[in-house]
């Protein structure tokens, strides 16, 4: 008999080695997340996928599924916590959706809509952050980085390059690149790298391509992030 967990009362089978996120996605249950992508080692940093497992808060993307676990996902308390976390992500950076070229394709924006985020709630930090446009093909807009490390992991695990790393602690945390000058142009980054296309926000962009996809054809124009995530990522969880 296969092993199972329950998520909000629904019985879900899993295989040894799967996390709660893996099991949920494979069964078509959406747990909000930003730093998780099934192709990469889970990181557990954005905390949006926080669920309650047998009464304790855990990150679903890193916590192993175990037989008989009772997992709570869509409770009002967890939804409220996730909304607060998302609001904090917004105010800690400079996320100005109306002019951003990632709007409509941005996971941060889409998850905020999904969580019914109506305002920032917290006062905005308006941090002073730079744009690194030194590379001929790829641009980093540090204003929009949420430190999910997907670019770090993609560069290391897929591209075999280690172009990116996170430096500093707490509020001083920032994305750095592997060059003495600190500029992307002096790294071995290429526009074809997986890391150039993985950013869930508008922090790492291919230059001169903004706004080419018309309104109405962008990823989240007609679908919410849960639909998109389950349709595109759940296959990868089965791999």
């Amino acid at each position: 008999m296969s092993k199972t967990i329950t998520i909000d009362g629904k019985v879900i089978p899993f295989e040894d080695g799967q996390t709660i996120m893996d099991a949920a996605m494979a069964a078509g249950v959406y747990i909000p997340h930003l730093c998780h992508q099934p192709e990469f080692t889970p990181h557990g940093s954005c905390k949006l996928c926080t669920v309650k497992v047998n009464g304790r808060n855990c990150s679903a993307c890193t916590y192993p599924a175990m037989d008989g676990q009772e997992v709570l996902n869509e409770t009002q308390e967890l939804i409220d916590d996730r909304k607060r976390i998302t609001q904090m992500l917004f105010v800690e950076g400079n996320h100005l959706c109306p002019g951003c070229e990632k709007t409509g394709n941005c996971q941060l924006q889409a998850v905020a809509y999904h969580l019914n985020m109506l305002d920032n709630h917290f006062p905005a930090f308006y941090p002073e952050r730079e744009v690194d446009a030194s590379h001929p093909e790829v641009m980093i807009d540090h204003n929009r980085c949420i430190f999910c490390t997907l670019c770090v992991r993609a560069s290391h695990e897929k591209d075999g390059k280690d172009v990116f790393a996170i430096s500093g602690r707490g509020i001083h945390k920032h994305l750095i690149v592997n060059a003495e000058s600190g500029l992307l142009k002096d790294t071995d980054m290429a526009a074809t790298d997986h890391a150039a296309h993985i950013c869930p926000t508008g922090a790492i962009l291919i230059k001169r391509t903004g706004y080419q996809v018309p309104i109405g054809e962008r990823i989240y124009d007609h679908k919410e992030i849960d639909q998109v995530s389950l349709a595109t990522e759940h296959l990868k969880h089965g791999e």
């Binding site: 744009v131 446009a133 706004y211 018309p214």
Partner: protein, 499 residues
């Protein structure tokens, strides 16, 4: 003229009257009057009291963001900023207007005609028709579109629907009624599908009919009180705008033409990329809006008017038949080479509405708007200038970028800025000729606003939210009690909660 009323002597001894805010204009401004003991106006100024700073904060951003960023200057005519910026960044990717793909050029023109149509309709019907239909000094309860809808329902509804049609043209081309995308460096990001084209074709004949009706209406209003309409707020000025190479009215792309008050040419077919050789701006301490002037004539004589009155005055003809007939009739009414009546802005605005409706029909019947060749690219350049005839007049966008595609310098001369001196002069004319020496009452002060409104100034912007963004609307009474609450969830579901 009335420049002697810009700054009074012995200001401390004068009585101050303030109209704040000026209503039914876009953005925030105020008028101040200084009166002596006999209520004679000694000083009159229009102040623009808001500060935007777009030219500064787009520095450091990549150039391809510009059409989307700068259109946020405005919620009424964002398409003008979008297209002026797009024309400038076309040059940054090495594309001059003549090299833009034909489909992209026509789609941009369609977008622009939709924009001018909706903006003019909004201004005439929603903002100005109450003054024109009920009288400048009518009771305050009559001075709104609500009163127009109740007493002249047919005119009011036509105005609302004309504007809506223009907005629909914008939505079909750029994805949203306000702040869409559409224009990108070197072209457009989509063409029209057949379904979109057919949808717009359905109502275009009705729009042309209503636009004709609106021209007839303003002609009747204007001519029924001709001496007054020809004199109120009227100033004799220079006029500037773009025209086609053959002198026809042009809204999207052309050379700069300026004429003086007698209709004599000051300059013609000037390449707008060299605007800086011909136009400078002066700063005055009491307003955030600059004062542009023609360099060849100097600060005192070189100021000019832009917008529908300037364009219809300046052009040799209009290339759509109904609008051309209306132009001929308009020019004939004054008997002068140039029409200087400030209230004639309304008449010319509606002639342009008719021109836009006719032009939209022509473009909708042109298969190029459904074409697939949408983007061109050439050699990178470091400087771009985009100029367009926005609803309110000639709009200049000028950008410089560095080798990394980042904006290093920006200069915008917004249409309303060009009319700054003229609006101040019109305010002074009304203050001197219609208010001076009278006991000032609220309806009387509306005369000042009527003068400003004729220019359809756009002093600021509005914003907008669409798509899957959740929204919450609360109605609170004077005591702060929640009366009603409407919530739109991200899935589009709307919930009402009567408190």
């Amino acid at each position: 003229m009335y420049e002697h009323l810009e700054t009074a002597e012995n200001r401390d001894s004068l009585k101050r009257v303030v109209v704040d805010p000026v209503s039914r204009v876009e953005g925030h401004g105020k008028v101040t009057l200084l009166l002596d003991a006999d209520n004679k106006v000694q000083q009159a100024r229009l102040h623009i009291v808001e500060f935007r700073g777009f030219e500064r904060f787009i520095q450091g951003r990549p150039y391809w963001e510009l059409p989307v960023l700068v259109q946020r200057l405005c919620g009424i005519c964002p398409v003008s900023h979008h297209l002026a910026a797009a024309k400038a960044i076309d040059q940054l990717v090495g594309i001059d207007p003549e090299n833009l793909p034909v489909s992209a050029d026509k789609l941009r023109r369609l977008l622009h005609f939709g924009q001018v149509l909706q903006s003019h309709a909004l201004h005439f019907f929603h903002l100005s028709s109450p003054d024109l239909l009920f009288g400048f000094e009518s009771d305050i309860s009559k001075r709104s579109i609500v009163a127009v809808l109740s007493e002249y329902p047919e005119i009011g509804v036509q105005g609302v629907k004309l504007r809506k049609y223009g907005q629909e043209v914008i939505r079909m081309v750029s994805g949203k009624r306000i702040h869409g995308t559409g224009a990108i460096a070197g072209g457009m990001n989509k063409s029209l599908t057949k379904a979109e084209r057919d949808y717009l074709l359905e109502d275009i004949d009705q729009m042309i009919t209503w636009a004709e009706g609106s021209v007839a209406l303003i002609k009747k209003v204007h001519c029924s009180n001709l001496p007054y309409y020809d004199d109120f707020a009227t100033i004799r000025t220079n006029y500037l705008g773009l025209t086609k190479p053959d002198g026809a009215l042009e809204l999207y792309h052309g050379g700069i033409r300026a004429k003086n008050e007698h209709g004599e040419t000051i300059m013609d077919h000037i390449d707008y990329c060299k605007y800086n050789d011909y136009i400078h701006e002066e700063v005055r301490s009491w307003t955030y809006m600059k004062f542009p002037y023609l360099l060849s004539l100097g600060q005192e004589q070189g100021w000019y008017r832009v917008g529908p009155l300037a364009r219809v005055n300046n052009c040799d003809y209009i290339d759509t038949p109904l609008a051309e007939a209306a132009r001929v009739e308009f020019k004939a009414h004054s008997g002068e080479a140039m029409v200087h009546s400030t209230l004639a802005f309304h008449w010319t605005r509606l002639i342009e509405v008719l021109h836009c409706a006719e032009s939209i029909k022509q473009l909708l019947n042109d298969p190029d708007i459904m074409g697939s060749d949408l983007v061109a690219q050439g050699e990178k350049r470091y400087e771009g200038v985009g100029v367009i005839e926005a609803p309110r007049g000639t709009l200049f966008h000028h950008y410089q970028v560095d080798e990394n595609d980042i904006v290093t310098k920006a200069n915008l001369i917004v249409s309303t800025t060009s009319n700054n001196m003229a609006m101040n002069e019109s305010v002074r004319q009304v203050a001197a000729e219609y208010l001076s020496g009278r006991e000032l009452t609220e309806p009387l002060l509306n005369n000042l606003e009527v003068a400003i409104r004729a220019y359809d100034p756009c002093l600021s912007c509005a914003t907008h939210a669409v798509g899957k963004m959740p929204l919450q609307l609360e109605l609170v009474d004077a005591e702060g009690n929640l009366i009603d609450k409407l919530v739109k969830h991200s899935d589009g579901q709307i919930e009402r909660n009567n408190a």
